[in-house]
Symmetry: D3
Subunit: 239 residues, 6 copies
């Protein structure tokens, strides 16, 4: 039995609210249950120096968490003077995931920076960030298209992410914080709209896991991500 | 004529939504027009080392801005590796303002940390932060009272803040971003519920100002802050 | 009764010794009683990148304190690896104050950097810094004029600063350290030679202050600053 | 055809030279082809503060690369003033991998720090580091056993790691630098001696990958790691 | 011919003004010609953690330079966020030099921190710092003796320093900036009052130097330092 | 009697193994007894900005130590976030020493960066670094000559270094760690192949030293360095 009463293959309620940050070129507020992440997309016409002059664009991401997104206060990274290893690991993952579905030549020599800021954390902040960041990025690309900043259609596919884990011996989908802190195994999956893998990260927190468990987690992730992609489609189509 | 069509002594619409961050001991979302700040209060039973063993509590504040709270993206301070001078100046001001109305002995040897994170910036983020932080702090003090963590009633008075400025030759109340970026003079006032001054910061951005203009700005601030305090009272009474 | 025996509207002895740093384009040693600040002005023909190509100059300031300017040793900021929030707040204030009286077009595309280093601290270091920095800046502008680096006369007015406060219930002028550490209210005023306000910063350290007290502090500041400006005139005229 | 002429399921020559750092409690030089990593284990009787008083030990890792381990010089992280995100990600992975096979109660309240410093980099530095770090850790545990510092036998299983990837359409084992920089997919696997998964990290560098490709990569990793574990056993048995 | 017209074995005018920083336990302003360094000594009753509980004191030093001590402005180290390698090298040298003549047991478990801040730089700032720091340290030790903080007499000998160099082929004593920037060889010597060597640092800036030149430099240093020690004695005796 | 049984004027066994880092333009592993340093030379066709456009090259060095090169683990500087003062002092010394024997015009507008990384530390790491760095630099210069990157022959002379010290009252050559930690005086000498002095750094660790002791240390250094230069010649000739 999961603490939330969910079935083992059941996602939390997921919502995506578009246009939440009116000054950004793209934005949404994505919620996976109580986890809430504000995603914004900023279009810049300048590229990082190493990327210039190749006729290609760039997509990158930064991740942050408000100090009181968590049960006890987390020290502000700006005060600590640096981003933690965990933060850097997550923002690199978000950036890689988005780049996997973007045609950089079609983007032209423009950069889109995604900012994913966690307002409330209850597990799965990185997977919610990726899922929401794709929507904010799509909005920003619509914005660029309207201004003829593109060389083609940069969106090759959708991308979304979900976590799965082995909780008290049972593989389950979309861990919340209570499950996550107790899970034997925790895995994050990033898949495209067409069901291909962009990223798979599985970690045995307590006990190493078997090939069979891995196969079950993969199946759960495929189910969850197909639901997330359907929601992204509905939300973006309704624009 | 102000860009927003407001009268010279008219505040923007101000709202304060309590309890917005369910994991924090106190919180609110305060809006001064389009400016929106998420304020949380975190109660900690440990004090900074230099404050220990005196039978007194401590109240402090940190301030941040999401990268895309602004019209063009602002660099994340956690990436830059330090808080800007402006950020430090603002968070010191918020902390001082709150401490002016708190009885530190009544607080006991506890610390309350206020985090003010700007979700959307349209001028007046520091005054909105102070006004909202007082509400979040009050909620946290209720929370402490219920758990018998206090030595008395620490709240000696309300505190709220507003900006005023000379815009195109006319003193006006509660500058928005358009006005602020053009104002000849910009002043921030922090007053108590009983109308006394906690802080006054006036800066001539373009032209030095006269004693007469200063007197007018003071009058506007007194009017605006009495409205803010009335709203704080309504919101806290309605809890 | 003030610890120094001064009348409530009496400044400490103020002296300004010009040309103290022979390698700098402008310099002075300013003393407000025992507080001594070495101010130097450095002329640079390069501007910060964001300021270039507009036909305008720039004036900025940095502030520091020798470790043993104080009664007990203060940690060196170069060792700590960063400037404190207080330091940044002060150096931003000095820069703003000077810019308020400088015609940036007349300065041409040149930069003047003011360094204010406190040799001995006995209260009022920021107001002494502003008062002295104006003299060092004026020397540097004479130096530039002799070398035909200017587009006109950049000095539109004098600027000077003084602190006032409510000490044991009485508003007094030019707080020394003993008074400052006990004052209920501490306010810094920056005024021009023509008596207009450039900056006003008042803080209730212990008790919020009333409109009447504020008016008295303003009057004291006007008196003190007119004396400081007279001294600046005498010193600069005597060059 | 692989650049090295290897079969698709063929590892590079792997060697592990024990006792290379005579001052360390455990050490080895591990080579995966031209990739060479110096692994040392340092036993400390003090724990990080958050770990104290629980009767449990700790194992952690740091990773570095000599500036000229690479084809062109890489900036020294000590000069840059911080570890890159990549470095932090790798050292967190090494630490997690080792902790998965260590019984922390049996370790007693001791800490073992593994330092993995890359002398020469030709792809696979993180997998070589994990494979070698296990040997250095084992040596350090022998050292502790001889000095009766243990509460039991902390080594629950072996752990080793290998990378696999899809190179020009074919899944291959143990990528060298030439393959790695061109691979469509790059995956790192950490498995125990008993064939269970500790960590799986797969990233689509160019094209998202299918379930079938993932299954093939898993099979290759199982083959490679069983060879690495056999080598670890031979080397540790021969001590 | 030296630019200053001095004989090859002639020091610049050297003065030491005691008690310049009234809030410090010891202080002086030392001048070697135009080079001026403010030296203060701060007595602290706490030791660095690694030094505690051994019945021994500690003497350490920090060095800084005002931004406009030099012909063109030098960036402030507090702004740069760290001390330069040169600064660290100098302050380590000052500390070592002083410790060589202090009996740490006689000092008791106290620490004296010497701050050497260069007001004006014209070559030889490190040697002036050492020479002046000894006087400030002596003052601080008198102060401690009066308060019975000592276990004995900690001053075992005087210590002073001077630079020598090969300038246009001729060994000369006490280089000023013009000479220093052109010298083929630059050497700093730290000697005790009894003529023994504490530190010798010779560097060939342009041409390697011979044993004969080294011998000549040593002779010049012995002459110069005996004059400096005589001045220290006069100044300290006159207290 | 020295702990190692060596005669007072006897070096440890010194070996230099060339070509140890195949990806670098020059490299060697130098051993002074148990002290082992990996030296690499990297040729870069870009110069530091301040050096450009003068027709001159540049040679610089960086120094590091693996955490477990020492008897107890030393904190990694990349983790600490900065290089220690000691590290900076050493790498500045290495760079100066090499530049003393290089003709910068002959080098053309190229830069050679020497990295000296200590694998095992047993005293004398800086002197071993200089001695080995010269060999790595020579290799890199051969590499440049083959590619016609030079304007002439940049190597004007050999350079090598050794430490000497007064150990239990006797001047001895080439201190190992046991001797170094106990020596009354520790001196490092850098000499050219023709026997001239590039650098001399002598420090009295315990007791100031006399002119006579200094003369003896100089004699020992001359003997040791002539042996080191002979070895460099043999190793470079054998290429």
């Amino acid at each position: 039995m999961r603490p939330s009463g969910r079935a083992s293959d059941q996602m939390r309620d997921v919502t995506i609210e578009r246009g939440i940050a009116p000054q950004a070129e793209g934005s949404c507020l994505v919620s996976f249950g109580r986890t809430r992440v504000l995603c914004t997309a900023s279009v810049e016409t300048s590229l990082p120096p190493w990327r210039r002059g190749q006729g290609l664009g760039w997509v990158t991401a930064e991740y942050g968490m408000l100090p009181r997104a968590t049960g006890s206060r987390t020290r502000r990274e700006a005060t600590a003077g640096k981003q933690s290893g965990r933060t850097q690991e997550i923002q690199r993952l978000i950036g890689r995931s988005l780049r996997a579905v973007i045609d950089m030549a079609a983007l032209g020599e423009n950069q889109v920076i995604l900012d994913c800021d966690v307002l409330e954390a209850d597990g799965g902040t990185r997977t919610a960030s990726i899922t929401g960041a794709f929507v904010a990025l799509s909005e920003a690309i619509f914005w660029m298209k309207e201004r003829s900043l593109l060389k083609g259609d940069p969106i090759r596919d959708h991308v979304a992410a979900v976590s799965c884990g082995v909780y008290r011996g049972t593989p389950v989908l979309d861990l919340d914080y209570l499950e996550d802190s107790e899970a034997e195994t925790d895995a994050n999956f990033v898949l495209t709209g067409s069901g291909k893998f962009v990223e798979i990260q599985g970690t045995a927190e307590a006990e190493p896991f078997s090939s069979e468990e891995l196969a079950e987690l993969i199946g759960l992730a495929q189910k969850g991500i197909s639901e997330l992609v359907a929601l992204q489609r509905a939300v973006l189509g309704a624009a």
